[in-house]
Symmetry: C2
Subunit: 135 residues, 2 copies
Amino acid sequence: MNTPRKSLRTQIGKGNVFAELCPSREVLKHVTSRWGVLVLVALIDDTHRFSDLRRKIGGVSEKMLSQTLQWLESDGFVLRQAFPVVPPHVEYSLTPMGREVAEHVEKLADWIEDNIASILEARVQLAEAELARLN
Amino acid sequence: MNTPRKSLRTQIGKGNVFAELCPSREVLKHVTSRWGVLVLVALIDDTHRFSDLRRKIGGVSEKMLSQTLQWLESDGFVLRQAFPVVPPHVEYSLTPMGREVAEHVEKLADWIEDNIASILEARVQLAEAELARLN
């Protein structure tokens, strides 16, 4: 049963995000999408229901959250579990592969949160330099 | 001269990417934008001219590359140096802060390149499971 798996890995080898048609480019797009980043980081801590995620991620619409979860599910990063109850109960969690990618994304988001003051300072300085150049 | 810098840092503290209006959200958007990721990774190795970057990053348009470089410059990640020669010669490189953020982005892109075969396998398996469920 593992034959197609092995042959796929052998055929594909390593991706190249600089190549326009490499599928790694599309996965990178999903993972780094506006809401993809936040969904992955939100799921590191815990399994969440759709409504929890929507509450946690400021500004996301139902449509965009749903689209993002579908992308991440199809890439094998998010597991969607629907429980056959009324009203419907659906839970989202990270797969082991999803956890790995989410941890990289979280480090990036943490770095930005930690350095936001320096980044805003850089903007002020750049704007001042531009003003000085014009005067 | 350092007074505004200190006070800005004290006022802002740490960002929160989950908050819709936090400026860290915008920086995250620039860094994880379709072309932002690739520009940052491309500049880790070396300073590049605009035309070099365009050649290296498959599929980027002149307009989008220019917009992306402006975002990254305004966040203090990319340094733009214009040399007063004919024809104009402009070089882009990472600032020390840009190098830090680029290294996080590179780790994420590397992980995706290394795992693209498993990701595509996950897609095949999900599609097969979906087919089986429908039959």
